[in-house]
């Protein structure tokens, strides 16, 4: 008890004695604000649950997600020990959902590794360099921004071939422009501050200034945007899966599962409905958490 109290005092200290203490203190205060936001915590809880479900899928699953048993096809939820019933090939829907969580996390991680990074690089370079570099890069950004996202992703996937990686690549290619805009706006405000001038006088070159001093300050606005975008990305990925352009059968991707259950929707509603609830829960969780993070990290914006 006393150590946790000591830790708390250290974190909430008015006069941090080291850079690390100040940084942890800022994080802790942010966490306290976030914790008071019930809906954001609900979102975080759902996402944590998703991650746990994905990690422990082999332990939690009641059946093999790929095992087909035609004698057991289209069983209603609860029948014969199938919690959410079975699909048209007799596969257990509950177990497939668990394994599908892995695919969702995989997609999310891949997109997060590509789109914001590309956006960050393009935006900060444009903002810091200025001049014709800025004009050129932002014109390209505007062109991509003016494209219809899903249609363009469709065309990309058509060219590259169906599959999760290509779907992710297609989504990322259409998702980076907003990040570039945000990063550029942040860079424009940062680059004329005194501390940047100071670093310049110390002899830092543009690469060092951008990577070490501008990037860290862009992170928080990007994190908010990424979290809020995640819902849209998951929905697009599921949409591609539904169209048969994302994850391929027999992969238990949730969009593809809905697509498989579509034929039976009027007689066997659960096959298509249950994966949809899972998609809905995850994107709702990302939206709730994103709203909460915006309150913490970006208090100047009115929470509309």
């Amino acid at each position: 008890m006393s150590t946790s109290q000591g830790l708390r005092d250290w974190l909430l200290s008015e006069e941090p004695t080291s850079r690390r203490q100040a940084r942890f203190a800022a994080w802790y205060k942010g966490w306290l604000t976030l914790r008071s936001n019930t809906l954001a915590m609900l979102g975080l809880f759902v996402l944590a649950f998703l991650v746990l479900a994905a990690i422990f899928a082999p332990l939690l699953a009641s059946h093999d997600p790929f095992a087909q048993e035609l004698g057991q096809r289209l069983l209603a939820p609860g029948e014969d020990g199938h919690l959410f019933g079975t699909d048209s090939l007799g596969r257990d829907i509950y177990s497939r959902l668990l394994y599908g969580a892995r695919i969702s996390i995989y997609i999310v991680l891949l997109v997060v590794m590509v789109a914001p990074v590309v956006g960050l690089i393009v935006g900060t370079v444009a903002g810091y360099a200025g001049g014709w570099v800025d004009v050129l890069l932002m014109r390209v950004t505007d062109i991509f921004l003016a494209f219809p996202r899903l249609i363009l992703a469709l065309a990309f996937v058509a060219a590259l071939g169906a599959g999760i990686e290509n779907a992710v690549l297609a989504i990322s290619l259409t998702a980076w422009p907003p990040y570039a805009r945000i990063a550029r706006a942040e860079t424009l405000t940062i680059r004329n501050t005194d501390f940047i001038h100071g670093i310049k006088l110390q002899g830092a070159g543009p690469v060092r200034i951008v990577t070490r001093h501008i990037w860290p300050l862009c992170i928080s606005s990007l994190v908010i945007r990424v979290t809020l975008d995640m819902a849209g990305i998951i929905l697009t990925a599921a949409g591609l899966g539904f169209l048969g352009l994302g994850a391929q059968p027999p992969s238990p991707e949730w969009g593809a599962m809905i697509s498989e259950g579509r034929k039976y929707i009027l007689d066997y509603w659960w096959v298509a409905t249950i994966p949809g609830i899972a998609i809905f829960a995850i994107s709702l969780a990302f939206n709730l958490l994103g709203d909460g993070l915006r309150d913490v990290l970006d208090p100047k914006e009115d929470n509309a």
């Binding site: 249609i151 929905l235 949809g276 809905f280």
Partner: protein, 351 residues
């Protein structure tokens, strides 16, 4: 315009401001369209499908192959090929569809009205319900109706549209039987109405075929309200934040101090000032629906552009896919530019 009077002593720009503005806008449009064409061109080039074989089929002789290879301009340098492509597209030639054997432009002209009808009705629902909801949510901030608006928005942003469509079909068609099933028109009524605009509701009303109208309406109502719900989520959220901004400004306080009624303050003053912003939001929502209708059309077997693109895609018919992408992309760009222009010309602050 106002630009000629001020700025004494400053160097006068070579062109009047309106001309510069128009030229900039035109250049932006041109750059964006060229960019769009470049992307579709590159997609067409990296395709694993041999464009020559796609035209002449597997069994052609080497001579025919070489001939077509030259005809398609594939022996030219890449930049030249792009030039040929751009000039073809600008002349309205999007190539031929392998699947239907017709020109892509003919195909698109045939399927586009269905999408237009769906997206327009959807936007209509979104505006009629979304704008009042947003306004009331802003005026009664923190009340139950504000929470309702936020809830509606959150659900709209988080729900997979194709799933909601399936559930809607299950409930309203399968269980309740309130609406007609997938498709645009019942089999009995197909071909009854001679097309005028291609929009079934309009055509049947103009021809006075009210039974057809009723059937078409019962087919369109579910997908349109679904799309409408998505644009409602967006429109009400934006309306709310625009209204909050206005209601917090000083002229509203002044109007209240003068003793104006709440109705007059909200609709006569605050709402008047968000009309332009709203139009741009509605235009964007409309553009999004044109695109968002892809998944909806699949669910409801709606014979529109979205279904056309997807079916072509699965049949490896790239001309149709890229043609459809160009059409939707161009409309998208046009709507974006239109809303931007509207903003610039009607918002006095941006002058």
């Amino acid at each position: 315009m106002a630009g000629t009077t001020h700025g004494e002593g400053r160097l006068r720009p070579p062109f009047p401001p309106w001309l510069t503005k128009t030229l900039t806008t035109l250049a932006t449009v041109a750059a964006t369209i060229i960019g769009l064409l470049f992307v579709t061109f590159m997609i067409g080039r990296v395709m694993p499908i041999d464009p020559v074989l796609a035209v002449i089929g597997e069994r052609a002789t080497q001579e025919q192959y070489d001939q077509t290879f030259r005809d398609l301009g594939l022996d030219q340098p890449l930049l030249m090929q792009f030039w040929i492509y751009v000039s073809d597209v600008l002349q309205g030639d999007l190539g031929k569809s392998i699947r239907t054997g017709q020109k892509v432009t003919t195909d698109i002209a045939r399927v586009f009205p269905a999408t237009l009808e769906l997206a327009s009705l959807g936007t209509l629902f979104g505006v009629v319900l979304g704008v009042p909801l947003g306004v009331v949510a802003a005026v009664r901030r923190g009340s139950w109706i504000d929470h309702l608006a936020r809830f509606v928005g959150l659900i709209g942003y988080s729900m997979p549209i194709f799933w909601l469509g399936l559930v809607g079909l299950l409930v309203f068609y399968g269980i309740l039987g309130w609406v007609a099933g997938p498709g645009r028109l019942g089999i009995f009524y197909q071909g009854v109405v001679e097309p005028i605009t291609g929009l079934l509701l309009v055509d049947s009303a103009l021809r006075g075929e009210w039974t057809v109208f009723r059937d078409a309406f019962s087919h369109i109502i579910l997908p349109a309200s679904l799309l409408g719900y998505y644009s409602l989520a967006y429109i009400s959220r934006m309306t709310r934040s625009f209204m909050l901004e206005q209601l917090g400004s000083e002229y509203v306080t002044t109007a209240r101090v003068k003793g104006l009624g709440e109705w007059q303050v909200v609709w006569g003053h605050a709402f008047r000032n968000i009309r332009i912003q709203l139009v741009t939001v509605i235009a964007l929502a409309y553009a999004n629906l044109l695109e968002g209708s892809v998944l909806t059309e699949i669910i409801f077997a709606w014979p529109g552009l979205g279904q056309y693109i997807t079916t072509s895609l699965l049949a490896n018919d790239m001309n149709s896919v890229l043609g459809g992408t160009i059409v939707i992309g161009t409309i998208f760009v046009a709507i974006n530019i239109f809303s931007d222009l509207l903003y610039r010309f009607f918002d006095p602050r941006s002058k």
